[in-house]
């Protein structure tokens, strides 16, 4: 099977700065894949190389088996990219922009498909509006539409929900999930880890130009040992038996680290014996954010 995206030994240097270092990555057709990492980790550089906007210093990248440099015409026909920046051509209306974009891909009569994307992205009313007159959210939708005019099997979205209101974000995800169900391979970058967790099968985490984690979301989360239980108690002072328990506290909440469910029983038994009441209780499962924080080696904000 040809990989949707195949990256081998890819490096990019800007003078002394190494933006990407020996990236190896293979994404299968039909995957919903997330590229995660802090700002400056190299996510956009990687996407730019796949799109042909940036030339790699070393290594190869292929889209559906087509090299992005030597066979760019085919690789670009197989790829739709939604850029991070909110760019638009102020000379044209939404429909003109989409018809022109179709033409760049060699598609002559694309009105039926353009009408369908307009409809699915809820842009039909705005079809004949000049790009300048659209709100930010609307422009973002047009960017998505422009990436889809040529029905690419592989779609890359670079932070599609940055600065987008909740309603549009939900609508975008419904639309993109539908595209994935229709067989498109989806790769996205996002800073909202809960989004990646809810949508994607697999993630790669980048840090300073290197892949530091590459696995399914399930495996990554399972790699975090245990979970935690947050308790608000009738007293601030913990009994001696609990002093040695691995824990932290935050605004009157006690957060106890738990390795397995049996320990919950032990914890509650101690509290009952000391006659301490539980006012509030919350069990916290590990999530992608916890994995991310652990792998990136930064402390989460607000928790001491």
């Amino acid at each position: 099977m040809t990989a949707a995206i195949e990256i081998q030994q890819l490096s990019k240097r800007y003078g002394a700065l190494s933006a990407l270092e020996d990236i190896d990555l293979s994404i299968n057709p039909g995957e919903f894949f997330a590229l995660l990492g802090p700002n400056g980790a190299g996510k956009t550089t990687l996407i730019s190389i796949l799109a042909g906007l940036t030339l790699a210093t070393r290594g190869h990248a292929r889209i559906m088996g087509h090299d992005v440099v030597t066979d760019y015409s085919h690789s670009r026909k197989n790829l739709g990219v939604v850029p991070q920046e909110l760019v638009f051509d102020p000379f044209f209306t939404v429909r003109e922009a989409l018809i022109i974009q179709s033409g760049y891909y060699g598609i002559r009569k694309n009105d039926a498909w353009v009408d369908e994307i307009l409809h699915r992205l809820d842009l039909t009313d705005k079809a004949d509006t000049n790009m300048r007159a659209l709100s930010g959210g609307m422009k973002r939708r047009v960017l998505v539409a422009q990436a889809l005019v040529h029905k690419p099997p592989v779609i890359i979205l670079d932070e599609p929900t940055a600065g987008v209101d909740v309603e549009l974000r939900q609508a975008l995800w419904v639309f993109i999930k539908q595209l994935n169900r229709d067989g498109h391979t989806i790769v996205l970058t996002t800073h909202y880890l809960e989004e990646a967790e809810a949508l994607c099968n697999r993630v790669a985490m980048l840090k300073q130009g290197k892949i530091v984690a590459l696995d399914s979301i399930r495996n990554l989360i399972n790699s975090v040992q245990g979970f935690s239980i947050q308790l608000r108690l009738s007293t601030e002072i913990l009994p001696a038996a609990l002093q040695e328990w691995p824990k932290s506290s935050y605004e009157g909440l006690h957060i106890f680290k738990i390795k397995d469910y049996f320990q919950v029983e032990t914890l509650l038994a101690v509290l009952r014996a000391e006659n301490i009441q539980v006012l509030e209780m919350q069990l916290q499962q590990p999530d992608l954010e916890e994995v991310f924080v652990k792998i990136m080696g930064v402390e989460p904000l607000g928790v001491s």
Partner: protein, 251 residues
């Protein structure tokens, strides 16, 4: 071909939507040059025997308008796309560097010819300027606007801000145009300046076009055409190399 045709069409649509600025304004300014210079010089200057100064001036003004607008079209389109970021739509597409080159150059040719035709059309109302050899006119107008269209691509790609593009336009294109013999015959100049003028490729374009109108010129139109085509070949190769290597647009 659809890719090239679409980009070409998009470039035409772009200037057509602002045609007051891109077509009518340059026609008006050429007309102002004509009115002023012909008023001042008509009775005082005669360059070729039996040919009125106005008849000498009109072909020069036509060619100047063609060249300036051909250059303005590709250069302003590219710098605007670069600065606003929408060049990405072209860079993401499978368009080849040759298609991009041809689309920008031909859109420049069309705008150049439209403005040139407009200038000539308006002057015809006021003065009588003969057309002796229309084929030469067409050849030089097309070759000249192609050359300036390609130079516009170079300037648009090289410039990172409007200021740099303005410098390219004001310090290279404008002097070369004004000193190309639009308003005078270079044989009226001192020998040193005559020699320098021969190094200016725009001189051959203007002189060749004038040959088409008047049937007479400073030098042979065959020689001028050879020079213009040579320059066009060199500039085109440079432009194609820039587009192919992604100079300043694919990092």
């Amino acid at each position: 071909m659809t890719g090239f045709y679409t980009l070409f069409y998009k470039e035409l649509l772009r200037f057509w939507k602002v045609s007051f600025q891109t077509i009518l304004a340059p026609i008006l300014s050429s007309l102002l040059y004509l009115l002023i210079f012909s008023h001042v010089l008509e009775t005082r200057v005669q360059i070729y025997q039996g040919i009125a100064y106005t008849a000498f001036l009109v072909p020069g003004l036509v060619m100047m308008a063609v060249m300036q607008n051909a250059f303005a079209n590709s250069s302003s389109s590219l710098i605007q796309s670069k600065i606003s970021g929408n060049l990405v739509f072209i860079l993401l597409s499978p368009l080849s560097y040759l298609e991009i080159f041809l689309a920008y150059v031909w859109a420049s040719v069309v705008r150049g010819l439209l403005v040139g035709l407009g200038v000539y059309g308006v002057t015809m109302i006021l003065y009588e300027v003969p057309v002796q050899l229309p084929l030469w006119i067409l050849l030089f107008a097309i070759a000249g606007s192609m050359l300036l269209g390609a130079l516009g691509i170079i300037a648009g790609i090289w410039s990172e801000k409007f200021d740099q593009l303005a410098a390219f336009q004001n310090f290279i294109i404008l002097p070369l145009t004004f000193l190309s013999g639009v308003f005078y015959s270079i044989y009226s100049l001192p020998p040193v300046w005559q020699y320098i003028s021969h190094l200016n490729p725009f001189f051959y374009i203007v002189d060749g076009l004038r040959h088409g109108f008047l049937g007479t010129s400073d030098i042979s139109p065959y020689f001028s055409l050879a020079v213009v085509i040579l320059c066009l070949a060199v500039v085109s190769c440079l432009t194609l190399w820039m587009l192919k290597s992604g100079y300043k647009i694919r990092h």
